[in-house]
């Protein structure tokens, strides 16, 4: 009887939930990326120090390059701020009537913090860092 209830990935993506839904998806993606990148960095550092493995050293050089750090900074700062927004709204549900404003406030904090971080990373990168 009827079609299966299964919601395919792209069907879900096509749902127009707006800003809060995109923030949630980005939170998921940045969460996975954090585990992947930072985890790889930790393992690579361990093997680089203990064995001097060339592959591990290469991974760390890429990870610590300023271009990659610009990406990592986005992931860390967005995930941290979005997580704080959600935690605050969960702990004090009465603030949820301002959830749209909370999302704007999050970007209002994110843009200068991330912008400044990127400027510092680029300055550092162009003046002799990786």
């Amino acid at each position: 009887m009827g079609l299966n209830r299964r919601v395919r990935f792209f069907a879900g993506l096509r749902y127009r939930g707006g800003g809060p839904m995109w923030a949630w998806m980005l939170h998921r993606v940045t969460g996975v990326a954090l585990i992947l990148f930072v985890g790889t960095h930790v393992f690579a550092s361990f093997f680089m120090q203990q064995t001097g493995n060339d592959f591990a050293t290469t991974i760390n050089i890429i990870y610590e390059s300023w271009i990659f750090q610009v990406i990592v900074a986005f992931i860390v700062i967005f995930h941290g701020l979005n997580g704080m927004r959600i935690a605050i709204l969960d702990i004090w549900p009465r603030f949820q009537m301002f959830q749209r404003e909370a999302l704007w406030l999050q970007w209002f904090i994110f843009i200068p913090v991330y912008g400044l971080t990127v400027v510092i990373l680029i300055q550092h990168g162009l003046t002799g860092g990786y």
Binding site: M1, L3, R5, V7, G17, P20, P93, Q96, Q99
Partner: protein, 234 residues
């Protein structure tokens, strides 16, 4: 104005796969999407199937995805859509029976699991069970639910796993948990203190945005999370 309606079609007796059909319909800006569906069914293609009953935003029968977001077809005006192309699809996360009709039984099963009725075995007073305006106000918002399923079927957590009770069931639990006359709050909180209870809610707000009655669904879920965490209904 002319409106191009692109409608999800699926007839289990004929179609192996669903498809979309497009109809060009003359419409006034003040027409509702339901009026356009009625026009298609009445004058162009009588096989089109969809649910409707009161047609005034009370019964909750005609919830569907309109241009990618859940609405009641009877509450959306053509002029509010701001496009002459309107895509109409069934709600996500429930199996499609035919065209825009979905199987609501799993949704009502979750609703029933919340004991959506007053539980109070104390000897009834001679008059009504009185309540102060403040006590009534505590759960006023969640009394407005019309069980249209727009919230539950907009929730990515429900799409991922239909064992999750979903926002509508939690809203209806909230309606009784915070009712001063009810005595089964602990039992309902215990049901919701489960991996498929309130903790599946990731505070995404799709449900709040989709609710045609403007119930603060995520806030209601948040209040229940807090009641479970603190053990207090205050």
């Amino acid at each position: 104005m002319q409106v191009k309606l692109k409608i999800f079609r699926y007839n289990p007796e004929k179609d192996k796969k669903p498809h979309y059909e497009t109809y060009k319909v003359e419409a006034e800006p003040t027409d509702r999407v339901l009026d356009l569906l009625e026009y298609v069914k009445g004058y162009i293609d009588g096989t089109l199937s969809f649910r409707r009953s009161c047609a005034h935003g009370v019964c909750g029968s005609d919830a569907m995805r309109i241009n990618g977001v859940n609405y009641l077809a009877c509450k959306v005006l053509v002029k509010d859509i701001k496009s002459s192309k309107i895509t109409i699809e069934p709600m996500l996360g429930l199996s499609v029976i035919k065209d825009l009709i979905v199987d609501m039984e799993p949704f009502f099963d979750h609703f029933r699991s919340m004991m959506p009725y007053l539980v109070n075995d104390e000897t009834p007073p001679g008059t009504e069970r009185l309540q102060s305006p403040e006590e009534r106000e505590r759960f006023d918002d969640t009394t407005k639910c019309i069980l249209c399923a727009a919230c539950t079927t907009s929730c990515p957590s429900y799409w991922a796993n239909d064992k999750y009770v979903g926002p509508a069931a939690i809203v209806n639990a909230h309606r009784f948990i915070f009712d001063s006359r009810d005595r089964a709050a602990a039992e309902r909180l215990n049901i919701l203190n489960d991996q498929f209870g309130v903790y599946r809610c990731h505070t995404i707000f799709n449900c709040t945005i989709a609710c045609p009655r403007e119930i603060q669904v995520t806030t209601a879920i948040g209040e229940i999370k807090k009641a479970i965490a603190t053990g207090s209904l205050d």
